[in-house]
């Protein structure tokens, strides 16, 4: 039998992980990693932080040096944008006409920023997803006095923190009544908002934007709720949409993400999907979910890459994320429930805290913490264990959460 040909589309951490895990699974497979950007896979988490504040080049933060791909015999192609997926012929075609025949295909195409309508094309409005976006945003920030950020999600707030570190004036406009509504409980969101206000960022929740106009070399944001606001520069960070164009054109089942099973298999034979672009079943979720965090992208990419190379491997995980803002670290574990039966805040009295969201049986569903990373690591295990917990112990700062997690694991 000839060597299995595995083609991976996408040079983010999911695609990178898929390639490396495929190699570990099948020493004989032929592996191609097609990266749309003109760069080897790099750490995207720096784009909203160190690239802006310190001007480091994303090229300095590669996920692996070039020789690692040679050692692993991964044929990595940069600037390789896939134009067509011919699933019947088991072939992908890049824009330059190169055809890649595959036995297994992994789609790790990621996501792209959601865009705001009603924006004057002349207005200095930016989005942030790829290295050139971050480099351009830094260049413009250095020449700007005032930045407006549309969207108080993790990316918007990280950029706001970076701009404050550069001593730029910052306004953050958010449609929801609180910041971080998608990933935080009220207490954690309020703590983050206080942090930003203390550092001089102006946060405007409940803000409804009508349009963004070009104005005096900058932008004028017209709102229905907060009047008009001027800025030299606008970053729009209102979430991402999965990049499913290839999959849809090829007739794969797509529903805000490419639908996959626990092995990453799509509805088409021999085609897998991993990372931000995939919608997958998870033990902690009643319905298939799409996740947008680094750790999932890495771990799911690796699991699916191994599966594509023939491993009998299923994926399950309790999601976790982190976000660095100023000199603080926000972390979360689990899926934020719409309506937790009970919310407990463990207040350490030093500005740090952890919030626990429980169901009606006192089982932990999610945890969010500010500067309490170990609590999140413990909470992640407790969420996976799905055992009823003692609310008093959870709320008590004197009881290390890791100890509770280890007790739960051994009982």
């Amino acid at each position: 039998m000839s060597a299995r040909r595995i083609v991976i589309v996408g040079g983010g951490v999911a695609g990178y992980g898929a390639a490396m895990a495929a190699r570990e699974t099948d020493p004989d497979a032929q592996l191609w990693l097609l990266c749309a950007e003109d760069a080897l896979p790099y750490d995207r988490t720096t784009l909203s932080k160190q690239v802006l504040t310190e001007g480091i080049s994303p090229q300095e933060r590669l996920l692996a040096p070039a020789e690692a791909f040679r050692t692993a015999r991964v044929d990595v192609r940069t600037g390789a944008r896939v134009a067509a997926l011919e699933s019947a012929a088991r072939t992908v075609v890049t824009e330059d006409g190169t055809r890649y025949a595959y036995d297994a295909l992994v789609l790790a195409t990621g996501a792209r920023p959601r865009t705001l309508s009603a924006v004057d094309p002349q207005a200095p409005v930016h989005y942030l997803r790829w290295a050139p976006d971050a480099l351009e945003l830094r260049r413009r920030l250095l020449g700007a006095r005032r930045l407006a950020v549309v969207g108080a999600g993790l990316i918007g707030l990280e950029v706001a923190a970076a701009a404050r570190a550069l001593e730029r004036e910052v306004d953050v406009l958010e449609a929801a009544p609180q910041v971080l509504a998608r990933c935080c409980d009220g207490a954690s969101a309020a703590a983050i908002e206080r942090l930003h206000r203390a550092r001089g960022a102006r946060i405007h929740p409940g803000c409804r934007i009508e349009r963004i106009e070009a104005h005096a070399g900058g932008a004028r944001i017209v709102t229905a709720t907060h009047g008009a606001l001027e800025a030299d520069l606008v970053l729009v960070a209102i979430g991402i949409a999965p990049d499913t164009a290839l999959a849809e054109a090829a007739g794969l089942a797509v529903q805000d993400g490419i639908l996959v099973d626990a092995r990453g298999r799509t509805s088409a034979d021999g085609i897998y999907a991993a990372g931000d672009v995939a919608r997958l079943p998870l033990g902690v979720a009643p319905e298939p979910v799409r996740l947008e965090n680094w750790r999932h992208a890495q771990d799911h990419g690796r699991a699916v890459g191994a599966a594509a190379a023939g491993a009998e491997r299923t994926y399950d995980s309790v999601p976790i994320y982190w976000s660095d803002q100023y000199d603080h670290r926000l972390q979360g574990a689990g899926l934020l429930p719409r309506a937790p039966a009970r919310t407990l805040v463990r207040d350490y009295g030093d500005g740090t805290h952890a919030t626990f969201l429980l169901d009606a049986d006192a089982r932990l569903l999610a945890a969010i913490a500010l500067d309490r990373g170990q609590d999140i690591m413990g909470a992640r295990r407790l969420i996976a264990a799905r055992a009823p917990l003692d609310p008093a112990a959870l709320a008590d700062p004197a009881q290390p959460l890791m100890r509770l997690a280890k007790q739960a694991a051994s009982s």
């Binding site: 490396m20 996920l63 680094w294 982190w322 972390q331 990373g373 690591m377 100890r403």
Partner: protein, 113 residues
């Protein structure tokens, strides 16, 4: 900075570190993660050599510490990398137990990088 050959460098009180747990100590300005694996103490650099993560905030699973951000793992006894994305060993320190204190067996190891 020299730590001197005969000075005792205390990392932790043994009583403060139950089995299966990890804590962070700062000695001579350097952050060290101290582990208790089944009653035996180990120590390594606290800052993960892959990213901006503190290993003492990670999950100690037997002899392996899992990085709280990226999920990389090191064997705390040998320093060997055990799971991606970490690829290089973490620096470890030999420790000794003296009068209920976990101390560096050889403080000169702090100076060697």
């Amino acid at each position: 900075m020299s730590t001197g050959g005969t000075d005792t460098v205390v990392l932790a009180r043994a009583d403060d570190l139950p089995e299966g747990e990890v804590l962070r100590a700062v000695v001579n300005g350097k952050a060290i993660a101290v582990y208790n694996v089944g009653g035996t103490f180990y120590a390594s650099d606290d800052v993960c050599n892959h990213g901006q993560a503190s290993l003492s905030e990670g999950y100690l699973d037997g002899e392996e510490i899992e990085c709280p951000l990226h999920g990389g793992r090191f064997n705390v006894r040998t320093g060997a990398p055990c799971a991606p994305p970490v690829t290089r060993p973490i620096k470890t320190y030999r420790v000794a137990l003296r009068d209920g204190l976990v101390v560096l067996a050889d403080p000169a190891e702090l100076d060697a990088s």
